[in-house]
């Protein structure tokens, strides 16, 4: 069980980008976050992983409870070791091959031996369909292949929660399908996922719950059938009309 309470984040002295977010995620739950751009969706994910530091709030992942504003370096590392992040722009290590991107944290963070890390990478490369590109550097992979490696890198960590920040938004349309297919398979394996995406059809298929965010707040949430077909809040209705 993962729980976010009262998360507030400001950049500089400006208005809060996150305005008191409360969110509880069950183990194995797949949550999709939608909402207009600039609404704080990325910031929410980044604050959960401490890529941005929230100004207030608490974060609980299993038995690990952290006051985000006062989190120590050790606590931050502990949170990061229980979560994984898939970036919109992939952010693969440029000086590592596809395989190296997957083994890197296994060796440095999880302390696996080189052999054990390689074996794990082999399995992951099979899962993401890139065994034949194992020794390729990111610069020579297509966008879709890079994002599959990005997802593979996250999977390898055995994280309790994987955060996806618009994983297909930077992709040419031709590569979107393969990445969504991979995410679908991960969802079917009941990996706990928190996904920001504009792929509404995909959200409808895999989400247990859809959250609509606007202005740094959760406006409305519910099962996809409810939220997409019977949105209650006028803001949700307006947003869904615009994206359809």
């Amino acid at each position: 069980m993962i729980e976010v309470r009262g998360l507030v984040k400001r950049f500089g002295g400006g208005a809060p980008v996150l305005n008191g977010i409360d969110l509880a995620i069950e183990r194995g739950e797949r949550i999709v976050v939608i909402g207009p751009s600039g609404t704080g969706k990325s910031t929410l994910l980044r604050c959960i992983n401490f890529l941005d530091r929230a100004d207030a709030g608490t974060l609980r992942i299993g038995d690990l409870a952290v006051d985000v504003a006062r989190a120590t370096r050790a606590q931050i590392l502990a949170v990061r070791r229980r979560t994984a992040f898939v970036f919109q722009n992939y952010a693969l290590f440029a000086n590592r091959t596809a395989r190296g991107n997957i083994t890197e944290a296994l060796v440095t963070v999880k302390g696996l031996s080189k052999a054990a890390a390689d074996a794990r990478a082999e399995a992951i490369l099979g899962d993401i369909g890139l065994l034949d590109r194992a020794e390729a550097y990111p610069a020579s992979l297509s966008g879709g292949q890079q994002q599959r490696v990005g997802i593979g890198r996250a999977l390898a960590l055995d994280a309790e929660l994987i955060l996806f920040d618009e994983p297909t938004s930077a992709l040419d349309p031709e590569w979107v399908g393969e990445v969504l297919d991979l995410m679908r398979r991960i969802a079917e394996a009941h990996q706990t996922m928190l996904i920001v995406t504009h792929e509404m059809q995909f959200a409808r298929e895999i989400a247990d719950r859809v959250i609509f965010m606007e202005g740094g707040r959760i406006v409305e949430q519910g099962p996809p059938a409810e939220l997409f077909d019977n949105p209650r809040d006028p803001r949700t209705q307006a947003f869904l009309r615009r994206v359809r």
Partner: protein
């Protein structure tokens, strides 16, 4: 007296080449130490270590803002007057120390710029997977920065080799000093100094070839 005595020049080749190892030794020694120091200085600047950051800024500013020759003189002739312990230092040690400090200041700035040039997402990815800052620096950020900085650092190495000739002013008999002594007894200044120039030139050209090969290989490694 002939205008240009080629035979004399040829005869001088083995005499001067005997000092090439000293020249290269000083350059390599100073380069290795300057690299280590420069990485540390760059790290202090990038991580903005309080207090140390200001000290490093002052250090870099001084060694970039004053002539190498003046620094060497300050170091070798000046310091022993203030700190008697420095009397024990010989010309070679003083030259290597001076070259190290001088070039580390320049190299620190190149390395710092290269580190800051590595895309921010690379840093974020290391943090997201739970790597420590030291692991991130050592395994992901520095190697990428090194690729960017390598050509510039090799340029500094070439500059360093040429700058070892200044050790002559500290009484060190290296190639330049040897040529000066030979010329003083034969009065063939042009031949002696021309030969020194040619030897430096060849060494630097060889390094430039190496530099170009290295650049090709490094760019291939990432963009395969």
């Amino acid at each position: 007296m002939k205008a240009l005595d080629l035979d004399y020049m040829l005869g001088l080749v083995p005499v001067l080449l005997r000092y090439l190892p000293l020249t290269l030794g000083m350059a390599v020694g100073a380069m290795v130490m300057a690299l280590v120091l420069a990485v540390i200085l760059a790290m202090v600047r990038v991580l903005r270590v309080p207090l140390l950051d200001q000290l490093v800024q002052g250090f870099v500013s001084f060694f970039r803002g004053t002539p190498l020759l003046v620094q060497l003189f300050l170091f070798y002739y000046g310091l022993p007057q203030i700190v008697p312990a420095f009397t024990a230092i010989n010309g070679i040690q003083a030259a290597v120390a001076g070259l190290t400090l001088h070039f580390s200041a320049y190299m620190a700035e190149s390395i710092r710029a290269a580190i800051l040039g590595v895309d921010r997402s690379q840093w974020e990815a290391t943090q997201a997977v739970g790597m420590t800052q030291v692991q991130a620096m050592r395994r992901i950020i520095l190697p990428q920065a090194a690729r960017v900085a390598a050509p510039t650092l090799l340029n500094y190495f070439i500059d360093m080799i040429k700058s070892t000739s200044l050790a002559f002013t500290l009484g060190v008999t290296e190639m330049m000093g040897a040529a000066q002594k030979e010329a003083a007894s034969s009065f063939r200044y042009f031949e002696a100094y021309l030969l020194v120039a040619i030897i430096y030139w060849i060494v630097v050209e060889l390094l430039s070839v190496l530099q170009r090969r290295l650049e090709v290989r490094m760019s291939r490694a990432i963009a395969r």
